[in-house]
């Protein structure tokens, strides 16, 4: 067991556990976007940063990837942490304002406006879909390509992947959601083109049999009425 202090509260955790797990065990809320139980931690969204160390050596680390260490002093909501989180949320709002998840997080942190040039991007490159596809669906159909501002997610060479079973897992986990599974053949994809964060079909019983190419995505709902 490893003993550490989170917000001055001592806690003992198993070796190999992350700071995020330790903090959540104690009930300290830490917002996350790219973290999901059952998927490997990645540390892309940086929302879960916490402050460790003391004095001039204090620094921020992503709690979802940082392993718990003996004697570590962690602060999950210091001024420095909150400043970083607010700025990250502002950046997220500036890029992806349509996401309900991002809007909710922003409002919870009292970020009500953003000061950058407004963009409307479909993807925040959190990599949840990539990990979902690889680690839970055992498909590895999609992955990251490029770097820096040209980084994107998709299939190799943008060709239809033989590995993809159109399971829709990628859309299901997406916090910003759009077009993740559509790749080169939107008409054969599930919910292709949907800007809705939680497409209604996902909740339906017959979801597994669905091969939806209706336009707009919520067409199934409209017809029922």
């Amino acid at each position: 067991m490893i003993t550490l202090a989170i917000n001055r509260l001592p806690v003992a955790v198993e070796e190999g556990e992350t700071l995020l797990e330790a903090a959540r065990f104690l009930g300290f809320p830490i917002p996350t976007l790219c973290h999901m139980d059952g998927l490997s931690p990645y540390g892309a969204c940086r929302l879960c940063v916490v402050e460790i160390g003391e004095g001039p050596k204090a620094r921020l680390v992503s709690s979802c990837t940082y392993p718990a260490q003996e004697g570590l002093k962690v602060r999950t909501a210091s001024a420095r942490v909150l400043r970083a989180r607010k700025m990250i949320l502002e950046l997220l709002l500036a890029s992806c304002p349509q996401s309900k998840i991002i809007q909710d997080l922003a409002s919870a942190h009292r970020v009500s406006q953003q000061r950058f040039r407004q963009e409307h991007e479909d993807c925040i490159l959190c990599g949840l879909c990539v990990r979902m596809c690889e680690q839970q669906m055992m498909a590895k159909a999609i992955g990251f390509r490029g770097r820096g501002e040209t980084r994107s997610i998709g299939t190799p060479f943008d060709m239809k992947s033989e590995q993809c079973r159109l399971c829709g897992g990628c859309i299901y986990v997406c916090p910003a959601c759009q077009l993740r599974c559509t790749y080169t053949e939107p008409d054969k994809a599930i919910c292709g083109g949907c800007a809705n964060l939680s497409p209604p079909c996902v909740e339906k019983e017959q979801f597994d049999d669905m091969m939806c190419y209706m336009n707009p995505c919520v067409a199934c709902e409209i017809e029922k009425d």
């Binding site: 540390g43 990837t65 940082y66 970083a84 990250i88 490159l125 990599g127």
Partner: protein, 616 residues
């Protein structure tokens, strides 16, 4: 090539090579690194070979083709040994004259280097102001060896350090020696090398530790690692062999960026030769110590210089940093303990073993020992690679070695440490150059790039340039680094176009601090440095852009106008060069620029010999 099977046979070979050498025979040394070749060294080599062969002088005059000698401004340069005569900027037609002079034992006065301050010619390389203040422990060896001849290296004392540690048979003493030397990693972060080795040596998992030579030098304007890789690959191989012996690693990887074809060629040859000599592979020199090296070429991502990304790249995965801990020294390549050192660090190892750690520690300052190579570039008279003891002031590097500003300009800052570094203003040039002082001043040592800027440089433009580089080279994993660099670029671009406001400037600063704070790897954590350090020392320039819509450096196109002042004598050179045909005027009378047509390309300013083109 005979395979050496014992330490004695190595010493016998070295003795034989030394006995065969006649140091009195004059040798023409041609500097032919990538830079030398680009400025015409290949023509010199051809001319020299032709002359020596046709005049049957090959026994009386030797020719040595070496890697870079450091003085870029003077390339292609020729050095005559043992006299030490230095000829800068030699044209292919002048080679004949030089060979004739060498044959007669004379010096060609008219081709010598002329000191820009005194105006007098200087004959000897060591007396040229550029070389005088340098302590060239590593770079001077570039002149002594032909990088594709292992015997050249052995003859100059090469692999003696390896033979010595193998003969002593005590790995822990090697680690102690490196620790005593105080050598700190030359890649930029300055982690003590001896400590890293000690950590690696302590790792169990005996069969499968790795050593890596990080040759992924990506900073714009920095090329010291390239010149060592090209000019003296065996010194790095020797360093890694010693490291392998000291830490118990038996596999090594050279990670060299593919943009360095000559370095890769020379390394490949060097690896083949040392393997042929029995200095690499199984049972080295019959001591039972085995170590092998392979070469991995980087695919061009700047971020792969970061150690965890580099490891992933070697494993064949996408170059993307990961969380440390676990540190590479615990879990590196394929999960095995790995120590990664920079090219220059490895090249220092044989020096430390040969001279002793205590003697090495005497160079430089207390916590920053040894020498460091900087690539001195930018708005300065003598550009080139300079190797100086740690703790030397920036003033000495810029003014004494670099020869000061070009023309009438005034040097205003030095940018150190590449894109992740920062600017140091002229009023702080008394700062000693070492890891701690530079960090304190808001910059970093980095791998050793040093870009000199004068008053025609705009600091907003500099920050914008580096941010443009970083937004393309960030791996894109951390949202703050990827989006943060893009947004910082956006804000900087607005300021440089005169669209900035003071609120946006404070937003830029706020964002820069968060990017620095919350990114995972070294790239992201230092990505804000160009913005933060220029803001720290040159806030007035930002304010001038925002409040007065004026660019003090005359660089930001949207904020400047070109005009011709009364110094114009009407030569018409500018009008001929103007691509927009915006300059008009009659010959021998003052010309005028039509500001509507002017595209602000700056051609007129470059061609004007009378400083008559003004940018306000």
């Amino acid at each position: 090539m005979e395979k050496l099977t014992s330490i004695d046979s190595f010493h016998a070979l070295q003795g034989r090579l030394l006995a065969d050498r006649d140091p009195t025979i004059p040798t023409i040394v041609i500097s032919a690194g990538t830079c030398g070749q680009a400025s015409g060294a290949n023509d010199l080599i051809r001319a020299a070979k032709r002359e020596l062969l046709s005049r049957e002088l090959t026994d009386r005059i030797h020719l040595r083709i070496t890697g870079c000698q450091g003085f870029c401004e003077a390339e292609p340069s020729v050095l005559i040994e043992p006299r030490g005569t230095f000829y800068p900027k030699v044209g292919p037609g002048e080679m004949v004259g030089i060979i004739e002079a060498v044959a007669r034992g004379e010096v060609l006065e008219n081709l010598l280097f002329v000191d820009p301050h005194t105006g007098t010619p200087v004959e000897k390389q060591t007396e040229i102001s550029f070389y005088k203040k340098q302590v060239r422990t590593i770079l001077a060896r570039n002149e002594k060896v032909d990088p594709i001849r292992v015997y050249d290296y052995v003859e100059n004392g090469g692999y003696s350090a390896l033979a010595r540690v193998l003969a002593s048979g005590d790995p822990s003493r090697v680690v102690e020696e490196v620790k005593a030397s105080g050598l700190r990693g030359r890649g930029g972060a300055g982690f003590p090398t001896g400590l890293k080795w000690e950590l690696l040596a302590k790792q169990r998992n005996g069969q499968g530790k790795f050593l890596v030579c990080n040759g992924d030098e990506g900073d714009p304007g920095a090329y010291m690692d390239r010149s060592v890789l090209e000019g003296n690959p065996h010194s790095i191989i020797e360093g890694m062999l010693i490291g392998g012996f000291a830490t118990g690693a038996n596999k090594g990887v050279f990670y060299v960026r593919n943009e360095y074809p000559l370095a890769i060629k020379h390394l490949t040859i060097a690896l083949r030769q040392s393997r042929g000599l029995g200095l690499l592979g199984d049972n080295i020199l019959g001591t039972g110590f085995s170590f092998d090296l392979k070469l991995v070429r980087g695919a061009g991502a700047f971020v792969c210089g970061e150690e965890t990304a580099l490891i992933r790249s070697i494993e064949g995965k996408m170059g993307e940093p990961r969380q440390r801990p676990p540190f590479p020294v615990e879990k590196g390549i394929d999960g095995k303990p790995t120590a990664i050192n920079n090219v220059e660090t490895w090249a220092n190892i044989p020096v430390i073993i040969n001279d002793g750690g205590a003697r090495f520690a005497k160079i430089g300052t207390k916590r920053n020992t040894g020498t460091k190579i900087f690539s001195l570039v930018g708005k300065i008279k003598h550009t080139g690679l300079v190797e100086v003891p740690m703790g030397i002031t920036i003033e000495e590097i810029v003014n004494d070695i670099g020869g000061g500003p070009v023309g009438r300009a005034r040097i205003k800052a030095v940018q150190t440490g590449g894109p992740s570094g920062g600017c140091i203003p002229a009023n702080r040039f008394d700062l000693p150059v070492d890891y701690d002082s530079l960090t304190e001043a808001g910059s970093i040592m980095g791998s050793g790039g040093m870009i000199v800027m004068d008053d025609s440089t705009c600091m907003v433009d500099v920050a914008k340039y580096f941010m443009n580089f970083l937004k393309g080279e960030s791996c894109g994993k951390c949202f703050t680094c990827r989006k943060g660099t893009q947004r910082m670029y956006e804000l900087l671009e607005d300021i440089s176009q005169g669209k900035g406001t003071l609120e946006r400037l404070s937003l830029l600063e706020e964002l820069a601090l968060v990017v620095k704070d919350s990114s995972m790897c070294g790239l992201g954590q230092t990505a804000s440095n160009p913005v933060l350090s220029t803001l720290r020392y040159f806030r007035d320039e930002y304010v001038a852009h925002i409040e007065h819509r004026r660019c003090p450096g005359g660089v930001c196109r949207d904020l400047v106008t070109y005009s011709i002042n009364e110094d114009c004598n009407g030569c018409g050179a500018c009008a001929k060069q103007c691509p927009a045909e915006a300059i008009s005027g009659t010959l021998k009378e003052r010309h005028v620029i039509d500001s509507v047509k002017c595209t602000k390309c700056g051609n007129c300013r470059t061609v004007c010999q009378y400083d008559a083109v003004q940018v306000v």
